[in-house]
Subunit: 258 residues, 3 copies
């Protein structure tokens, strides 16, 4: 029994999510289906890339991931099967999956889906997730190999993620996500934040860098390395997003103290 995960921007109430699940089970009724999220911001490839980078590395070898954030559906953009660390990712060729690659990774094996015998008999122009990716996931679940799905490809669309830039005294980045707690998560990775750094978000200095939320009094504005290994700005027992009025895109500056 294989596990197939689903990641989409369809929204929680959507019948598209249900159709996707049915289309996998129609090929392999014994698949374990798992929702990762159906609430990604519509057609937002950068948000998808960040989500996948924080999610996929935690799954075991053999997991099959179906990713349907697909603004190009129905055009001639390709659909891909990517092998990465023993996991398989099925996604449109829009670069959203490349965020999972680490500098030390070898170039991944990528296949272009080109064998209609693994698809639904009728393929719509607007929902390739249901009509191609989901049945292909079902076939992988019952033992079809990526090599059977179509020809290998060595070029694919890449996606530009906002990366922090070096400054004379440190790094300048920005907020890339706000979580359910109102924590402002930045694109600055732990390695770029020395223990005694100064952090400023928008025009607001962050007075304390802590190890975890509980290390300061409720209401304190703090910086810390969060669960994804990135610098985040938080208010202990409160919402930094609400208190500061900041969100995705707010600039963040880290300066080494000398």
């Amino acid at each position: 029994m294989a596990t197939v995960t689903l990641t989409t921007d369809f929204g929680e109430g959507s019948s598209y999510v249900a159709a996707l699940k049915g289309a996998v089970l129609t090929v392999d009724p014994s698949t374990q289906l798992l929702d990762l999220s159906h609430c990604l911001p519509p057609q937002n490839l950068v948000a998808t890339a960040l989500f996948l980078a924080d999610a996929i590395p935690y799954f075991p070898r053999g997991t099959i991931h179906v990713v349907v954030i697909d603004p190009g559906v129905g055009t001639d953009r390709a659909l891909l099967c990517v092998e990465w660390n023993g996991q398989l990712i099925l996604a449109p060729d829009n670069g959203c999956w490349m965020s999972i690659l680490r500098p030390t990774d070898l170039s991944p094996h990528v296949t272009r889906l080109a064998e209609p015998r693994f698809w639904r008999p009728i393929v719509s122009a607007t929902f390739h997730g249901r009509d191609i990716l989901a049945p292909v996931a079902g076939h992988l679940s019952i033992g079809v190999t990526p090599a059977e799905l179509g020809p290998p490809v060595t070029e694919w669309v890449s996606l530009s993620l906002a990366e922090p830039v070096a400054t004379p005294g440190g790094f300048r980045g920005c907020v890339i996500a706000v979580d359910a707690f109102g924590n402002l998560i930045t694109n600055i990775r732990a390695e770029a934040v020395p223990p005694l750094a100064s952090v400023q978000i928008g025009n607001q200095p962050v007075p304390r860098i802590v190890r975890t939320y509980g290390d300061a009094e409720p209401g304190t504005l703090v910086g810390l390395i969060g669960s994804s290994g990135r610098l985040e700005v938080a208010v202990v027992c409160g919402s930094a997003a609400t208190m500061l009025g900041f969100g995705v895109g707010t600039p963040v500056e880290v300066t080494r103290n000398v």
Copy 2:
């Protein structure tokens, strides 16, 4: 191992969803449970009917669906088990399931749930989903047959779905749903939209009919046959709902060009 799907209007944060899952697993711990949606508009039978019509046909034979949109809970309305194309649907007798029937279908086998030995020992007056439908789903999962659940019935409540009406030049329908992308989905089926039709939504002509979103420039207002086989009005890479200010109920008119 059978798959049991759950469709409710309880909302994502509700402990009722959790109780429903526990009540199925208490009868058959090996059931694969699957969320279809818990975000249907509260007590909205028409929205439920449209959701089920777009979801259930994609599932394989043997799937068991539990549907708990139940404004009549605790009154004498019946609870039904419907056999349709090898799938089973457990739902209150309120007509919400009839939307899955196609003109070519034979009359379905329908059973009224009347055997308390398949229910929870204590049945509340307010939550028959947890106390009757969920344990019955668990029993079906372990091999109980529909015929054991109660007597067959040949009459049931029907539900009037807003259907488009013919006009001298084509069809007049309306928007029946807005998806997460802001696409305005209508009740007009593909068959009623000839290739060269003119479409008007509210007082707004839709300048282009396309095959898929990617066929026009970002920002263009387009009509197309969407993933459910219905006419929808969309803005490429944008939200038609936001741009036009239209929503469920807005009239839509299709006119054949001569």
Copy 3:
């Protein structure tokens, strides 16, 4: 195959939910994972306690529940494994699980998680759900016993739930939750509401006590014993929360009629 349920305050769109699922499956890929809710109000222990009291009792023996509402993450608060009626609950030591105990229950067996060999190799300071609770759930799923996880403990943090108080004529409580239908759910249990009681919410008398929603005309304000065995105030086919403008915290008074 064991079932592991997940209850968090991460929100539906969060990659933290995905990481939690991956961390369980990495230890036991055959676990059946089940979402209870990821929409609990952030860091709200009282709401969590009420949710668990309405959810966990419906599950069968052998179920493993992971609860990650954890405002104290990274401090020295303990993580616990609680055995209750044949089920196992993994949660921070913040009292959120104690609401499931009934007056007749024996004192539960509680273990403090203290064996890092059952954890992820690297434990962050901000996400013990992913790094400790999830892999421990995976190990329980493959047959590790609670006794192997760490030493037994006999003291734990308790949580004060708002309980109704007795008055000369009955009980005074308050609204503790609003469900998706706008029903105002109180902390007053069925036993405290005799058949002919008078109910007042805020300054508003509730004119009728009914057995179920369908027992009164649409639009009627009613009191009834809801699905969780608690008094709730509802508007038939409507939203009491919207109609009255009341929410969590609104006082509710039950008076015996003599």
